[in-house]
Amino acid sequence: MTQTVIWTVAILAVLGFLLALILFWVARRFKVEEDPRIDEVEKVMPGANCGGCGFAGCRAFADSAVKAANMDNHYCPVGGDEVMQKVASILGFTVTAKAPQVAVVRCNGSCANRPVVNDYDGAASCRVKAALYSGDTLCSFGCLGCGDCVAACQFGALSMDPETGLPVVDAQKCTACGACVKACPRHIIELRNEGPRGMREVVRCVNKDKGPVARKACAAACIGCGLCMKTCQHGAITVADNLAYIDYTKCKLCRECEAVCPTGAIHGVNFPRELDKEAVKKRIADRKNKEAANG
């Protein structure tokens, strides 16, 4: 009996000893060097593998970031500054903070605003539709309504509004990965700074037709009249090709443009109060008068 116990102990001890020895030798003989920071960086990445950073996935990003000289070409929109800070600290870089962004739909051609003039019967895909023709309304710039952007968003931030037939962004879920921007064949979606408390001023139109043509196609179209540009005191608005555009880095959210737009193409979002157009108009008029008096 004791003999059994002794043999047991002996065999297992020898076995353990031998195996440890062999393992150690093998480990030395077949050593592989790999930058351990790749794993570390990958660990802090969000792991969505969405490609929003321009790399083939989170690991590819990590792999490249570790080799990079600085962080200029590496930014993960999903993880945002928080993650980038962590990555930078692992790699010993500094990053400049980027303002959080969000996807913005620049078309307001709802069924009510834009009459449908033909009956599209092809594959339900904006890409296919855009390649075929200018669309089932007279606006050859606006949303085609087949929801390619919705399909492209892997964060569930987009959905088609059944009433307007237009996509809506859920700013809470949007990570600004930009997949929808790439998916939209009409270039309607744009990434913009989120703005203070999410407040933004947007021209919700991309129609570059001349005023009357645009107007005929869509009641909510920007007709390129330039009133907004003239009104804006901050030089945030430009009009090119009959279309106004608000530079979100310059916009001070005064909402004067919104008040003067004759077609209502300019929209303010997330403002706490509704715009009192008349009051603003009056304010503008007063200012103009004063300027006229001074000048």
Partner: protein
């Protein structure tokens, strides 16, 4: 003839995955892609064969003479663990791409029931093929049994990986996505493999 029957039996009739339920975790885990599945099958095949031979010798020439067969479990698993770790280290050096693909599953070969299961089965079970009297396998038969069993593992794995790659493109209802549909697929595969019953 007996070798032939061992092979048929181990691959088809008593398929290690579909009839014996050994090594299911990596089977479910790495079968998503055909290339990975093939690599994993190769690795498992190699480890099973090696482990079976080593443990067979260990049992035959050490444990049995000393009357220590109760040490089978513990000593076998030690040998297997060391073997797998060796394979892992070597693979990392020789084929980093395969190593990448197999990821966490290489260490899991250690905890793959198939390896220990075959090693234990071979030294504890009587076999009888083609009307021969029940007997323990000799070293040659044990080796053939191990190779054939792991080929059966590879066969089921590769077929399953093919099916799963196909399923990835299917519009599987949400609740069934992933493992449930994979399990149902294996279930029907196991059903099909029952057709071989009675052949050996």
């Amino acid at each position: 003839m007996e070798y032939f029957l061992i092979i048929i039996s181990a691959i088809f009739v008593n398929n290690i995955l579909l009839a014996q339920f050994l090594g299911i975790c990596p089977f479910l885990g790495v079968s998503g892609k055909l290339s990975t599945a093939t690599g994993m099958s190769g690795a498992v095949c190699f480890v099973i064969t090696l482990a079976t031979v080593v443990t067979y010798l260990l049992n035959q020439y050490l444990l049995v003479p000393l009357g220590l067969t109760f040490l089978q479990t513990i000593s076998f698993i030690l040998v297997i663990a060391a073997l797998v770790q060796m394979v892992e280290i070597i693979l990392k050096k020789i084929s980093p791409s395969l190593y990448q693909a197999l990821g966490i599953f290489l260490p899991l070969i250690t905890t793959n029931c198939a390896v220990l299961g075959v090693a234990i089965t071979v030294v504890t079970k009587d076999f009888s093929f083609g009307g021969a009297a029940p007997h323990m396998l000799n070293l040659g038969q044990a080796t053939v049994y191990a190779v054939a069993t792991s080929l059966g593992y590879g066969l089921a794995m590769i077929l399953f990986a093919g099916l799963r790659e196909h399923l990835a493109g299917c519009d599987v209802p949400k609740a069934f996505k992933g493992l449930p549909i994979a399990l149902i697929t294996v279930g029907i595969m196991a059903l099909a493999f029952l057709g071989f019953s009675g052949i050996v």
